[in-house]
């Protein structure tokens, strides 16, 4: 699946809030067609990295490049017009609006530019999520967590995006729902949609992504294929290696056994 085209890139980005610097020079690449993941403990800077990609937090130094175009100073709304779509943390569907209205908002920019493409994307999305087609008139706020998750993903897909940014998809969802979401995202990616995902749950995330970027205290300490990782190296890169000490392998094995 690896086209070697780099679709999205961060180059030596420095960013923070007020007097605090949270990212101390972050570089990463997302190749077309893959799912790339950003992992790290809280405070490592993965949310801030996502916000820099989205444009919500400005990069004080460094560049954000999409499709070869430097979008570092482009506003978040306009990045959406360039093909960036979001599945925000906590889904953030609009609870007072119906499913149909939520989807329509997903196509906010595309619909004016290219009605035909929007129509096709909408149809594809409704085909993929028949449950949403059924419940078009239902208020988004009255749906279950899993249904809202589907809606959030659908809302992103309606804009026929170049890349979908998925922010902590497993947060606040029951394990079974997480599994369903997992399947959905994998399927969407297999149909050709590139994704960049931030995920707190490493176990879940590593099964989904092709490339992993692991962060510690504002820097990327590992960027490479998931295949090259094992639990011990992951623990090391997250920074919990020393915490888990000598008994790590045994503990990890027993943990995985329990999960099976």
């Amino acid at each position: 699946m690896s086209a070697d085209t780099v679709l999205l890139e961060l180059r030596d980005v420095r960013a923070g809030f007020g007097s605090q610097t949270v990212l101390h020079g972050v570089s990463l690449q997302v190749r077309e067609g893959e799912i790339a993941g950003i992992f790290g403990l809280n405070g490592a800077g993965k949310s801030v990295t996502m916000k820099v990609v989205a444009g919500i937090v400005p990069a004080r130094r460094g560049d954000v490049v999409m499709d070869g175009r430097n979008i570092t100073t482009v506003a978040p709304e306009d990045r959406v017009a360039l093909g960036m779509a979001h599945v925000p943390q906590g889904r953030q569907v609009f609870p007072g609006l119906t499913v149909e209205q939520n989807l329509r908002l997903g196509g906010y920019r595309l619909r004016r530019r290219d009605k035909r493409r929007y129509g096709e994307a909408l149809q594809r999305t409704l085909d993929r999520f028949p449950i949403l087609a059924e419940r078009r008139a239902q208020l988004a706020g009255s749906m279950s967590g899993g249904q809202q998750a589907s809606l959030a993903v659908a809302r992103a897909l309606v804009s026929d995006p170049r890349i979908v940014l998925v922010d902590e998809p497993s947060a606040g969802l029951a394990p079974k729902t997480v599994e369903e979401l997992f399947e959905t995202l994998r399927e969407v990616n297999r149909s050709g949609v590139t994704m960049l995902m931030v995920e707190q749950n490493v176990t879940f995330g590593l099964r989904l992504v092709d490339t992993a970027n692991i962060m510690q205290r504002g820097r990327i300490v590992y960027a490479g294929p998931v295949a090259d990782l094992d639990q011990e190296r992951v623990a090391e890169h997250l920074g919990v290696g020393r915490l888990l000490g000598r008994g790590l392998s045994a503990a990890v094995q027993s943990h995985e056994a329990a999960a099976r």
């Binding site: 403990l41 749950n201 623990a235 943990h255």
Partner: protein, 647 residues
């Protein structure tokens, strides 16, 4: 000075020699009349003498009408200072301050006009009633914040003007109340210049009161409240009491201003004390600069005098132009003109100190990673000796649970912090660590649970009371009043050591001065221990993040607390600085015998520093125990790696 008669070689130059009476008087004069007091006396004489002398010497310079304009300006200057105390210092809104002026005017009107007493009774009575009305309004209203408080004050102002002040007994019908400028009996100050002298002296007195407030713990408490009430409470400031105090002082002074205004005009009815006047006052305070005495006084004079000196054709245009200027000023300089000047000055200072470096400077300090040693000051003499605590447990929590709506943020947590130990609290995002902290410090009320501190049940105590018992805590976003200087923050941190009451502060009695001197000296010692002397008068917000964190730690230590609660102290620090922080924290335990409870995401730091660890996940304690044993528990792995998803 008489020559010292020394006899013999062993004579000490410090031995007091008998002084002549003249020298003794000189010494007495020097001790009473400090440079500051001499300054004040000079101003008082000047202000009192200038108007009457000018008028008699150059009678055609100012017409009576022009003098009255100045009179009114002086009254509004007092009102602006009054409002400034509430809005500029304490950060509480009032859009109904004209009401307090009205209360003052009518009070003095009744006492002087109707009952024939002197203004010397009427004006203080105006202050008294202004304060009382403010108290009555403040008790319910100050539970509200920001916008809601503002709306309440507007409604109050309107109700007072249209209703209370029109009650016939008070208002004397449509004619209103007469306010003669009676000094005593039949002696009245008819002349506008003489009256101006009186007004200016009163203005001076109010100015002095204002400076006394700001020089004392009262002013610092106000400013801390304006900045961040949670931080103020963590420094043992009783936010409720101080907000009310600011309201009462402001109301009383506004009452004085109203009374003086009434006496200036000669009579009062409810008409002038309107919403529009309240808005004018706010405009004066905001444009002059919130928190700046000179700014608001200048603005008050400007607003009154400027229209009067403009030529006739301009008449009527000054208001729209002024309004446009107001909008422009507020948009460009939300802190008013004084704020803009201050900001420009600060930026020049910082550029000078940093030698022109920008963000790089932050990186430099962080990369070099050397944090100063944390101050180890002797226990303040005003505090009782360090108490012993039964069982050696400083802080103990039992079955603490906190629920927000549908979310159980803290779930039945129990923990103990033994004396002289560093206890760590770790766990993934959303595990409830900061919420637990907030429950322990009192910033949040848990639904269930008991918290015992130093052997005392503090579960029902407000945060400022727990802080006064010796519980210090830091905040993720740095718990300091960022607009105040390092020195002021160090003084604010010693709020609990300020052993004088609010009345003494207003008058700045010798006791107050002495306590302030002691606190200042201690603050300087702490700053020197940090090696931050060059930052003494720098506003905290101008420092880098790492420097701010250090100042915060210094402030926490200055009152010799029983417990330090630190919330992610290494957040935002480089690895080098964080390692150095670990060294400093260990020093706290080993050299100063301090007790620390620590939230951290920096696992290596936690392993380095903590004796015991509690692991929190989804609000509940997942595991706890000595550091080495915790490290190997499988639940901890699950907490950090995430629940395994069933395949």
């Amino acid at each position: 000075m008489t020559a010292l008669a020394t006899s013999g070689s062993g004579s000490d130059a410090n031995t007091p020699q008998p002084q002549s009476p003249r020298a003794a008087l000189q010494a007495l004069w020097n001790s009473v009349m400090t440079p500051r007091r001499a300054n004040i006396a000079l101003w008082a004489v000047l202000l009192a003498a200038l108007p009457p002398i000018t008028e008699r010497a150059m009678p055609h310079l100012f017409t009576s009408g022009k003098l009255q304009t100045l009179d009114v300006a002086a009254c509004f200057a007092v009102a602006a200072l009054a409002l400034n105390v509430l809005v500029g210092y304490a950060g509480q809104m009032s859009l109904g301050h004209a009401a307090f002026m009205g209360v003052g005017a009518f009070t003095s009107g009744l006492i002087v006009g109707r009952y024939g007493l002197s203004m010397a009774v009427g004006v203080p009575a105006a202050a008294l009633f202004g304060g009382i009305v403010a108290l009555l309004l403040g008790i319910p209203a100050l539970r509200l914040r920001g916008l809601y408080l503002a709306i309440t004050t507007i409604a109050f102002g309107v109700a007072l003007q249209l209703s209370i002040l029109r009650i016939p007994w008070i208002s004397g019908g449509n004619a209103g109340v007469v306010l003669p400028r009676r000094v005593a009996g039949n002696l009245q100050l008819i002349d506008n210049a003489d009256w101006l002298a009186v007004l200016l002296v009163v203005l001076l007195v109010v100015w002095l009161l204002d400076t006394n407030v700001m020089r004392s713990k009262v002013g610092r408490a106000f400013r801390a409240i304006r900045e961040d009430e949670g931080v103020a409470q963590s420094f043992a400031v009783n936010v409720v009491t101080y907000k009310l105090t600011a309201f009462v002082i402001s109301g009383a002074l506004a009452g004085v201003a109203g009374a003086l205004y009434g006496h200036t005009i000669g009579q009062a009815n409810s008409d002038p004390f309107s919403y529009e006047l309240s808005l004018q006052l706010i405009i004066m305070v905001v444009v002059g600069g919130l928190g700046s005495r000179s700014g608001v006084v200048a603005a008050a004079f400007f607003f009154q005098v400027f229209p009067a000196v403009m030529p006739a054709w301009f008449n009527g245009y000054q208001v729209p132009i002024g309004a446009a200027l107001l909008m422009y000023t507020v948009a460009r300089h939300p802190d008013g003109l004084a704020g803009a000047l201050r900001e420009a000055r600060e930026r020049r200072e910082m550029r000078r100190m940093r030698g022109g470096a920008g963000d790089d400077d932050d990186e430099d300090i962080e990369e070099r990673g050397r944090l100063p040693k944390l101050p180890a000051l002797p226990r303040p003499s005003t505090l009782p000796p360090r108490p012993e605590v039964a069982g050696g447990t400083v802080l103990s929590a039992r079955n603490v649970s906190v629920r927000f709506g549908g979310l159980q943020a803290v779930d039945d947590v129990s923990l103990d912090v033994p004396r002289g130990r560093i206890v760590g609290l770790i766990g993934p995002n959303g595990a409830g660590k900061t919420t637990l902290f907030n429950a322990l410090s009192g910033h949040i009320r848990p639904q269930r649970g008991e918290i015992t501190f130093m052997g005392q049940d503090v579960s029902d105590l407000a945060p400022h009371r727990r802080a006064a018992l010796g519980m210090s805590r830091s905040f993720q976003l740095i718990g300091l009043a960022k607009s105040m200087t390092v020195l002021d923050n160090m003084l604010l941190a010693q709020h609990v050591l300020g052993r004088y009451d609010i009345g003494s502060a207003l008058a700045y009695l010798p006791r107050t001065a002495r306590v302030e001197r002691e606190l200042t000296e201690r603050a300087h010692q702490a700053i020197a221990a940090l090696g931050f002397e060059r930052f003494t008068d720098t506003p905290v917000r101008s420092l880098s993040h790492g420097q701010q964190r250090i100042v915060e730690l210094g402030c926490l230590l200055v009152t010799d607390p029983e417990l330090l609660m630190l919330d992610e102290p290494s957040a935002g620090m480089s690895p080098g600085a964080a390692e150095n922080l670990a060294v400093r924290l260990r020093e706290l335990r080993d050299e100063q015998a301090r007790t620390v409870l620590l939230i951290e995401h920096n696992i290596p730091l936690v392993l380095d520093v903590c004796d015991e660890i509690y692991v929190l996940n989804s609000g509940a304690v997942l595991a706890s125990g000595p550091t080495e044993t915790i490290a190997r528990r499988p639940e901890v792995i699950g907490a950090y790696f995430g629940e395994a998803v069933p395949a």
